[in-house]
Amino acid sequence: MAKVRLVQGNEACALGALKAGASFYAGYPITPSTEIAEHMAEMMPACGARFVQMEDEIASIGAVIGAAATGAKAFTATSGPGFSLMQELVGYAALTEVPCVIVDVQRMGPSTGLPTLSSQGDIQQARWGSHGDHSVIAIAPSSVMETYYQTIKAFNLAEKYRTPVVFLLDEEIGHLRERFEVDPDEAVEIIDRKQPTCAPEEYLPYENVEDGVPAMAKFGQGYRYHITGLTHNEKGFYSSALPVVDTFNRRLLGKIEDHVDEIFESEEFFTDDCDVLLIAYGSVARSAQEAMEELREQGLKVGLFRPITIWPIHEEKIKALCAGKKAVIVPEMNMAQYAREVRRIVPSETPVIPLSRVDSELIIPEEVAELVKEVLK
């Protein structure tokens, strides 16, 4: 039975992780993500799951990947400075195709910035933080309930695509307390990584399979294989042979980019019937939605597109939605990190207007409405 109570975004994330089957957490405290570690430390021992506080964020993600190699569903939570420290190993997880979830409760940067204030400044870091070409999945929920369900999805996607998934909360959602009505026993879809069925001698941990995602054996089940951050062949051993390297890198990107239809999730309001389209995500989408509702009451044709999946970006969808609009407005708490993607995708006849706030204040519905009115003048 669902009990209604007030729950904070960070707690919903912790609850979602356990529901998804998270059996390992490693982390290093940092505002505004710390509550997640605290909840895990409290809840995990009760179900035999493992919690460890590491000496820094690099160690945290290292432990997460090590645990994940043995089959654990493993995750960590951090904020901007810690996420930056993790980047080398985010790339390692991507290249070695070890599933894991990294929660980044975004705070104002760069550097120590404003630790307790909200931001959406890690949108591009989530995509390009680690060196080299690889893809990544990133999700940004807009409410506490959605945080719970999308956390479950984050683990599922990590397992399904053998990839790190970045869960981008912003401080506002992480610390927001909201009505939470979830039946803890509700049946939800849980995805586990594909297991090899062949004999151990025949197992290819990095096989060029059609869907791009090879089966992943858990350590300790008779499939003794090698995981290395060096570029490797299908067996998992170092290779610099041109066709091997090329095939490998393309598969790594393709296994995510080619499945954008399956991965991508979003919400649309009046996107067919609008002159001005708002594109907003995370906490800012709430202000954008409120502005849209007010403006529509006033008879202005405004719509909202809210990507829940930030990466991979659904270029076709965005292109189609924006076609023929008088303007596309992208409000976000950063200097147009998502707007630059929209601008890249949308043909130049449609103006893409960023509404950036980097003074640590939230974007309120009134300022979105004002800009829409100005554009429609």
Binding site: G66, A67, A69, A72, L89, Y225, H226, T228
Partner: protein, 273 residues
């Protein structure tokens, strides 16, 4: 006939190491040790960082994790916590372990998870061509210390003991039989075991420091190592340029982390927080 311990190797030898490199001796000593212990390949995880020495995991027929530079211990920590029933061996170089991985090293010593760390100390960054490491002795030459290093060096075993490691030993590649025994003792110790191995990199270290010949390096190591019992009767002056070899620390009372965690789970589940 192949020696029995070779069953622990994958059939992908020859290795990448230079002729005269000490890494192969350490790898064989490890294989002899696990063979004598009768350990099951299906129940072992090998973890390493980055460096010539860290390439060992590529040759071992186990579940192996060749991680990032300096990060072997965090990966091993996660793997062992997730599977406390499996045996975890970690291989690291002097740079990997004491420079970029230094923080992880001291915390692993403190945390005391039941796994075995073998640090191959060749006094240099071998893989990148001979830059000085925190274990390069004062005054020795490296590509980034062409006039002799002015950096003071760590004594890795003292550092481990200071950080609370419950088992610390030092061996070397000349005394290979003793090294096998030390690895066995490290494995049998319940808790985190550190085994430093004085090794040789004739190419990146020896050549620049007047011992380019692998056989001379062996001789050098033989002359500069002293068994612990003998060292106890020697003066500080006599020991100044010597490495003391043998088991240097063994504490059996230190709580092992995975056991403490399991006990904590039991307490919580039993309702006695």
């Amino acid at each position: 006939m192949k020696p029995a311990y070779q069953k622990y190797f994958r059939d992908n030898l020859p290795h990448i190491w230079c002729a005269g490199c000490g890494n192969g001796i350490v790898m064989s000593a490890w294989a002899r040790a696990v063979d004598e212990l009768g350990l099951d390949k299906n129940n072992m995880i090998g973890v390493s960082g980055i460096g010539c020495s860290s390439r060992i995991t590529g040759y071992l027929d186990l579940h192996t994790l060749h991680t990032a530079h300096g990060r072997a211990l965090p990966f091993a920590t996660g793997a062992k916590m997730a599977r406390p029933d499996m045996d975890v061996f970690v291989f690291s170089g002097d740079g990997d372990c004491s420079a970029i991985g230094g923080n992880h090293f001291i915390h692993a010593c403190r945390r005391n998870i039941n796994m075995t760390l073998i640090v191959i100390n060749n006094n240099i960054y071998g893989m990148t061509g001979g830059q000085f490491s925190p274990l390069t002795p004062f005054g020795k030459k490296a590509t980034t210390a062409p006039y002799g290093s002015i950096d003071r060096s760590f004594n890795l075993c003292d550092l481990a003991i200071g950080a609370g490691a419950s088992f610390v030993a030092r061996g070397d590649i000349f005394h290979a039989k003793q090294l096998t025994d030390l690895i066995k003792a490290g494995y049998q110790h319940k808790g985190f075991s550190v085994i430093e191995v004085i090794a040789a990199c004739p190419i990146s270290y020896g050549r620049r420091n007047g011992i380019p010949n692998p056989a001379d390096m062996m001789q050098y190591i033989k002359e500069h190592t002293v068994m612990k019992a003998a060292a106890e009767k020697m003066s500080a002056e006599e020991l100044a340029d010597k490495h003391i070899i043998g088991v240097l620390q063994e504490i059996n009372e230190a709580p092992e982390y995975c056991e403490s965690y399991a006990a904590l789970c039991e307490r919580v589940q039993g309702g006695t927080k």
